[in-house]
């Protein structure tokens, strides 16, 4: 049975309203401070390290993102856990919050479909994260310019920009996951806790667990299969995908993200950087994986929301 009327009706209104709600919320204040502090900490750590270590590096500027100085993690590592936290913080009460405020049935009795409400909330969340990440990115690059005194090259900027886009896609995964749980669980606290739990599991425990599971599945004689299986399993976690993506983009010497056979190394010049396009090819499957994961999770939340009872 076909329903009449556009599912997009009201999408813009919902998105703008959610965006303005986010921008004035206390959560946003916390996010802003996190962004500033992370930028300062990461740049400070990286720059002192770069000054000590690197003399001549064609991609000096990218080192800003990847270099760590004990005890501070690198900027990329910071993002690896800051981004999921931001996304979960913005999405965990998206739908159940409307339920608990008893606004859901009133809003849905207006001439819009549920599609517009859910997608509008997702877009607004992603927009807020994008704004924060863009600020963070500009802050880091600006500080880098000031403190390093070396202007970045065109390719470096291109790589940094693609890195920003990939990070936004990574945020989309966690936002979609948080919204899925906000549909499933009626209590916002439960939804937040479950999402955070899953995040911890996927980011910290799963990468360590994957090789162990691979060992259980594959006989130890097939060394190559074992490694590949372990890697495949580990890539079920968005954190692993993101990590690999970033590695390929920000470290141009990365030639592959999988195991390398000796015969493949024949004739290769070790440590020489790949051109941007080749690096992009290396990171492509992971990027597609991240986007696909957000779409899948969003669809899951969408189906759940369509079937949900409206009444409080």
């Amino acid at each position: 049975m076909r329903r009449k009327g556009s599912p997009w009706q009201g999408l813009g209104v919902v998105t703008l309203k959610e965006l303005s709600d986010h921008l004035v919320s206390a959560r946003m204040r916390v996010l802003e401070w996190l962004v500033v502090l992370v930028a300062l900490a990461a740049v400070y750590g990286a720059i002192t390290q770069i000054r000590d270590v690197t003399a001549e590096d064609p991609f000096l500027f990218l080192r800003l993102f990847t270099t760590a100085r004990d005890p501070l993690p690198s900027f990329v590592a910071f993002l690896g856990f800051l981004v999921p936290l931001m996304a979960i913080g913005l999405g965990f009460d998206a739908v159940n919050g409307e339920h608990n405020r008893r606004t859901l049935s009133r809003i849905l009795s207006q001439p819009i479909y549920r599609d517009a409400l859910l997608f509008g909330k997702f877009l607004a969340g992603l927009a807020v994260i994008s704004i924060s990440l863009l600020c963070l990115w500009l802050l880091v690059i600006g500080l880098g310019l000031l403190l390093l005194g070396v202007p970045p090259g065109g390719e470096e900027m291109a790589r940094a920009l693609i890195f920003l886009l990939v990070t936004i896609a990574y945020a989309g995964v966690w936002l979609a996951l948080a919204m899925l749980f906000s549909v499933i669980f009626r209590s916002a606290a439960t939804a937040a806790l479950v999402t955070l739990g899953l995040w911890l599991f996927l980011s910290v425990i799963w990468p360590a667990l994957a090789p162990a599971i691979a060992e259980a599945l594959v006989s130890p004689e097939h060394q190559a299969t074992l490694v590949v299986t372990g890697q495949m399993l580990a890539r079920l976690s968005p954190s692993t995908l993101y990590g690999e993506c970033v590695l390929a983009l920000l470290d141009p010497t990365t030639r592959t993200l999988g195991p390398v056979y000796l015969n493949q190394l024949e004739g290769a010049i070790m440590g020489s950087p790949l051109p941007l396009w080749e690096s992009l090819m290396v990171a492509w499957p992971q990027t597609v994986g991240l986007v696909a994961a957000s779409i899948l999770l969003f669809v899951g939340g969408y189906v759940g929301f369509q079937r949900q009872e409206v009444r409080a």
Binding site: M1, R2, R3, K4, G5, Q9, G10, V13, V14, K17, D21, R101, R102, T103, S105, R106, I107, L108, S109, Q110, P111, I112, Y113, E309, V310, R311, A312
Partner: protein, 316 residues
């Protein structure tokens, strides 16, 4: 047929094997206040959600201004204003901002929005608090703000779910007045409630729900005749005179006369015998002090109906 605004035919909602609503049929005519009455869990809210297209219909069909809420939900939702049970608003926004958001969702153009919001808030008496955050509002104010939303929408039908639920007597009297005012502006109203006596005062017709079905449907007077065996109850208060009771029972059309207290008589009769009773009292030399006709109350009808149903079941 053009004056039927909402039509439900054999409307059913099934969850697994259990029916929340089972074959409900009723019509709401233009300009009337129609009440869905019954205990909590009888299927009133589910019926309303099906009419709005917010809940799938398992069987039967619903039409709102001739539109099918399953196929054309946006059309239906454009014409109908809905006030849910204990309505919620965004607490961090002001009353006017809350209405602004829904006005944009309704597609009211920017030029008309401000004026319509101000007019709607004025109608429900919330103009003074238009710029206060809804978080500070009492329950009654929230319900009124919900009505303002319907006024702003210029809806032709208002569906109100338990509008007076949880309100203090003063607030609920005010709300019922607003609902009557809405009717005076030509809006047809479908409302649900489990508070029978309060709703009786505003409803033109009612449907009594029980366990997912409509047990009775009609005006309160019709239901009274149907359930309480028809007839009128006239109360007479008089003293003096000789044997007023006998004089009253001699009137044609009187079934019985009871004496609940000294000088008080209660006549069960086939029609309204107030005038005749007055004459009889005076003729018997009594001094008439009070004369009244008992309106059947929904409460009595409702309890009596279920007593009858219970007795019928026990007898079977």
């Amino acid at each position: 047929m053009s004056d039927i605004v909402i039509a439900a035919k054999g409307l059913s909602k099934r969850y697994g094997t259990a029916y929340a609503v089972n074959g409900v049929s009723f019509d709401v005519a233009a300009g009337e206040i129609f009440g869905l009455l019954g205990p909590n869990g009888a299927g009133k809210t589910t019926t309303i959600l099906m009419l709005l297209g917010l809940c799938d219909i398992s069987a039967g069909e619903a039409r709102v201004f001739g539109h099918d809420p399953m196929r054309e939900p946006l059309m239906v939702k454009r014409l109908v204003g809905y006030l849910p049970d204990s309505v919620g608003f965004y607490d961090h926004l002001t009353a006017a901002d809350n209405l602004h958001y829904t006005a944009r969702l309704m597609g009211i153009d920017a030029a008309a929005r401000g004026k319509r919001i101000a007019a709607a808030l004025d109608r429900v008496g919330l103009s003074a608090v238009a710029d206060k955050k809804v978080g500070t509002f009492s329950r009654g104010m929230r319900q009124r703000l919900g009505l303002a939303e319907i006024v702003m929408k210029e809806a032709r039908v208002a569906i109100l779910d338990e509008p007076t639920n949880g309100l203090d007597p003063q607030a609920s009297v005010e709300l019922l007045q607003l609902i009557r005012l809405l009717k005076d502006h030509g809006v047809s109203i479908l409302l649900s409630s489990h508070l029978l006596d309060r709703v009786q005062s505003v409803c033109d017709r009612v449907a009594l729900f029980t366990a997912g079905r409509i047990a009775l449907i009609g005006t309160v007077a019709e239901l009274g005749r149907q359930v309480l065996g028809g007839g009128y109850a006239v109360e007479v208060e008089a003293d003096g005179g000789n044997n007023i009771a006998k004089a009253l029972s001699a009137l044609p059309g009187v079934r019985s006369v009871g004496e609940p207290g000294p000088g008080r008589f209660r006549m069960a009769c086939d029609n309204d015998l107030r005038a005749e009773a007055a004459g009889a009292v005076v003729a018997a030399g009594g001094r008439l002090k009070q004369l009244s006709l008992d309106q059947p109350s929904l409460e009595t009808i409702y309890t009596r109906y279920f007593q009858n149903a219970q007795e019928a079941r026990d007898a079977a």
